[in-house]
C-alpha cells in the first residue's frame, strides 16, 4: 500500500523524474512481493558472478603482463604484444592447421555419422533389435575418456589389437601413436566410435515427432521407401540438423585438450598439438599465464564470429536460426 502512495506522489512531480520513480517503486514492490525468491536467486546469481563473470574479467590479463604477485588489477598493460607474439611465432600456423584439420574431419565424418545411424535405425521394424543396437551403441559415451584413451594406447602398441587386425591386411606392425600421420585418424575415429550412438538420440527424437500421415500420403502417391526417406524423413529432421550444425560450426576451433593430451607425445606434436593443448602446456605447465590467455581468447573470438556468420547464413537460406 505504501508503495502505491509513493507512486501517486511521484506522478504529480516533474514528468521525467516521475517515470524513474515509478520504475523504482515498481522494483520495490516486486522485491517485496518476491523477497524469498530473490533471496534464493542470490545463490545462483553469486555462483555465476564468481565462477563465470570474474574469470571473464580475468581475460584482461591477455592484454597485460600478469604477475601473480601484482594481481590482475595491478599488472601492467602491454596492449596486443601477446597476440603479435603468438601470430609471429612458429606455433601459430601449426596450431591453427592442426586444430582446423581435426575439426574439419570431425565436421565432415563425425557430424553426419549419428544422422546416418538414426536414419538406419528408423528403417528397422524389429523393436527388440533396434533397442539392442541403441543400448549397445550408447555405452561408450559413459566410459571415461581416460579409460578409452588407455585402451587406445594399449591397442596401438606394436603387439596390440589394432596391429593384429592391420596385420590381416598385410600392414607392418608399429606403435601407431608414434606416427604423426595417424594421429588424426585415431583421434577422430575413436571419437566417432564413442559418440555415434549417443549422438543419434537427438535425431531419433526428431524422427519420432514426424507426423505419420505424411508417410501415408507419400505411400498413396507411390513413393517407395527411398523416396519417403528423401522427401519426408530427411526434411522432417532438417531443422534439428541445421541447429546442431550451426552450434558445431560455432565450436570449430574447440578441439578439447582432454583426449589430445592423453594421446599425444612430443613425437606427434607436429600433427596433434592443437590450440587448447598448447594453452594447457604453456599456461599451466610453464605458467605463462598472459600469453596462453591471449591464445585462448583468439580462439574464442574466431569461434564466436563463425557462430554468428553460420547463424546468419542459415537464417537467409533456411529460415532456421538460433536467435
Amino acid at each position: 500500500m505504501k508503495s502505491e502512495l509513493k507512486l501517486a506522489a511521484g506522478r504529480s512531480g516533474q514528468p521525467g523524474k516521475s517515470r524513474i520513480n515509478d520504475y523504482f517503486a515498481m522494483l520495490r514492490r516486486d522485491f517485496k512481493k518476491h523477497k524469498y525468491l530473490y533471496f534464493l536467486g542470490l545463490f545462483g546469481v553469486s555462483y555465476y558472478i564468481i565462477f563465470s563473470y570474474i574469470p571473464m574479467y580475468g581475460v584482461t590479463i591477455a592484454f597485460k603482463d600478469y604477475s601473480p604477485v601484482k594481481g590482475i588489477l595491478g599488472s601492467e598493460w602491454i596492449g596486443l604484444k601477446n597476440f603479435t607474439d603468438f601470430f609471429q611465432s612458429f606455433y601459430f600456423w601449426r596450431l591453427l592447421r592442426n586444430t582446423l584439420i581435426i575439426s574439419l574431419y570431425d565436421l565432415l565424418i563425425a557430424f553426419p555419422a549419428p544422422i546416418i545411424l538414426a536414419l538406419l535405425l528408423n528403417e528397422v521394424k524389429h523393436t527388440f533389435f533396434k533397442r539392442t543396437v541403441q543400448t549397445i551403441t550408447y555405452l561408450p559415451h559413459f566410459v571415461s575418456i581416460v579409460v578409452i584413451s588407455g585402451m587406445i594406447v594399449d591397442f596401438s602398441r606394436k603387439a596390440g589389437l589394432f596391429n593384429v587386425i592391420l596385420g590381416w591386411f598385410g600392414v607392418e606392425a608399429q606403435n601407431l601413436l608414434l606416427d604423426p600421420s595417424l594421429f588424426r585418424t585415431i583421434f577422430v575415429g575413436s571419437g566417432i566410435w564413442q559418440g555415434i550412438g549417443w549422438g543419434s538420440i537427438i535425431y531419433l527424437a526428431a524422427l519420432s515427432s514426424i507426423d505419420t500421415q505424411l508417410y501415408d500420403a507419400a505411400t498413396v502417391d507411390g513413393a517407395n521407401r527411398w523416396k519417403q526417406m528423401l522427401h519426408v524423413t530427411v526434411p522432417g529432421i532438417m531443422p534439428t540438423i541445421i541447429t546442431l550444425l550451426i552450434l558445431r560450426i560455432g565450436g570449430i576451433m574447440d578441439v578439447g585438450f582432454e583426449k589430445v593430451i592423453l594421446l599425444y607425445n612430443p613425437q606427434t606434436y607436429e600433427t596433434a598439438d592443437v590450440i587448447s593443448s598448447f594453452v594447457y602446456r604453456r599456461g599451466l605447465l610453464e605458467a605463462n599465464y598472459s600469453y596462453s590467455t591471449a591464445v585462448s581468447l583468439f580462439n574464442s573470438v574466431v569461434n564466436f564470429m563463425l557462430l554468428i556468420i553460420a547463424n546468419r547464413i542459415s537464417r537467409k537460406v533456411n529460415d532456421t536460426s538460433l536467435w
Binding site: F51, M56, S144
Partner: protein, 292 residues
C-alpha cells in the same frame, strides 16, 4: 502393409548386417579387455591375434589391483566427489531453476540473460585457474566441486521441466497461504522426481568420469580421483608399481594383465548400472532437445 519389393528385402538385410557389425565393433574392445584381464600373463603374451575367450583363468591381477593403495584411495576420493558433488549440484541447480521458472518476477529476465551469456562466453582455462588459486581452493576438494556447481545446460533443462508444471496447482497453494519455499518443497519438487533423477545421473556420471579439474587444481596425491590415478597407470606408463609387483611374484608379464584388470575395476560400476539408467539419460537428452 504393402507388398515388399526385392529391393526392400535386400536393403533390410544389409541394414541389419551393418548394425550388427556396429554392435560388434562397439562391444568387442570391452570384451577383449575383459578376456585379457582374466588371462594367464605368460600365455597372453605368447598369443597373437584376437581373443575370443580368456587364455587360461587367472585372478592374481585383480587381487593386485584391489590391493593397490592408489586405486583404493582413488576410489574413495571419487565416491566423495560423486556423492558430495552431485548432492550440491542438484540442490543448487534445482533452487536456481525454480527461481528462473517463476512467472512474474521482474528481474528474472536479467538473471536468465546472465545465465545464457555464459553458454557463449567463458573465461577459459587460465583465468579459471587464477580464480581458484586466489580463492585458496588449490589442493582442496572444493576445487573439484564448486567451480562446476551449476551446469548451465542442466539448469535450462530443469527450468523447462519446472515450467511445464501446471500453474493452477501453485496458484491454489498460494491462495491457501503457502510461501514460495513451500511451493518449491511441496509442489514443484515432488512433481519433478523424474527430472531430478536425470540430473543426478548427469552430474553423477560427470563426477565419476571427471579428471581434468583434478589435473589442473590438485597436487596432493591423496586427493586424486580414480580417473587421475588411472591416467598414471594406463597412459603415463608409470608401471613402476606393477613391474615391482611382477618381479615379486615372478611373472614378468603380469604388468600387462594388471592394466587390463585396472580398466575393468574402474569401469565396472558404470557397466553394471548402465543398462538400468540408460533410458533416463535418453529422457534428459529429449527434454534438452525440446528446448533447443
Amino acid at each position: 502393409m504393402i507388398k515388399r519389393s526385392l529391393g526392400d528385402n535386400i536393403f533390410d538385410s544389409l541394414n541389419i548386417l551393418f548394425l550388427t557389425g556396429l554392435m560388434i565393433v562397439t562391444l568387442y574392445p570391452f570384451l577383449y579387455v575383459i578376456f585379457a584381464s582374466l588371462s594367464v600373463p605368460s600365455e597372453l603374451v605368447k598369443h597373437s591375434g584376437i581373443l575370443l575367450w580368456p587364455k587360461g583363468f587367472y585372478l592374481e591381477a585383480y587381487k593386485l589391483v584391489i590391493k593397490n593403495h592408489m586405486i583404493i584411495s582413488g576410489y574413495k576420493n571419487t565416491l566423495i566427489y560423486v556423492v558430495a558433488g552431485t548432492t550440491l549440484n542438484v540442490f543448487f541447480t534445482a533452487l536456481f531453476a525454480f527461481v528462473l521458472s517463476r512467472r512474474d518476477m521482474y528481474w528474472k529476465k536479467y538473471m536468465m540473460m546472465m545465465v545464457v551469456v555464459t553458454m557463449f562466453f567463458s573465461g577459459g582455462l587460465i583465468p579459471g585457474y587464477i580464480l581458484v588459486k586466489n580463492l585458496g581452493m588449490l589442493d582442496t576438494r572444493w576445487a573439484l566441486i564448486l567451480p562446476g556447481l551449476i551446469a548451465t545446460w542442466n539448469l535450462i533443462i530443469m527450468r523447462t521441466s519446472f515450467q511445464a508444471i501446471p500453474y493452477e496447482l501453485e496458484e491454489a497453494a498460494k491462495i491457501d497461504g503457502a510461501s514460495d519455499f513451500r511451493v518449491f518443497a511441496q509442489i514443484i519438487l515432488p512433481l519433478s522426481v523424474p527430472v531430478l533423477a536425470v540430473m543426478m545421473l548427469f552430474y553423477g556420471v560427470g563426477h565419476w568420469n571427471a579428471w581434468t579439474g583434478a589435473l589442473i587444481y590438485l597436487r596432493d596425491r591423496d586427493l586424486f580421483p580414480l580417473q587421475l590415478v588411472l591416467r598414471e597407470i594406463l597412459i603415463e606408463n608409470s608401471t613402476t608399481d606393477t613391474t615391482n609387483l611382477s618381479t615379486s611374484t615372478g611373472d614378468p608379464f603380469l604388468g600387462e594383465v594388471v592394466k587390463y584388470a585396472t580398466i575393468i575395476v574402474a569401469t565396472l560400476p558404470i557397466l553394471v548400472v548402465y543398462p538400468f539408467i540408460q533410458k533416463y539419460f535418453t529422457k534428459g537428452v529429449m527434454i534438452g532437445a525440446l528446448k533447443g
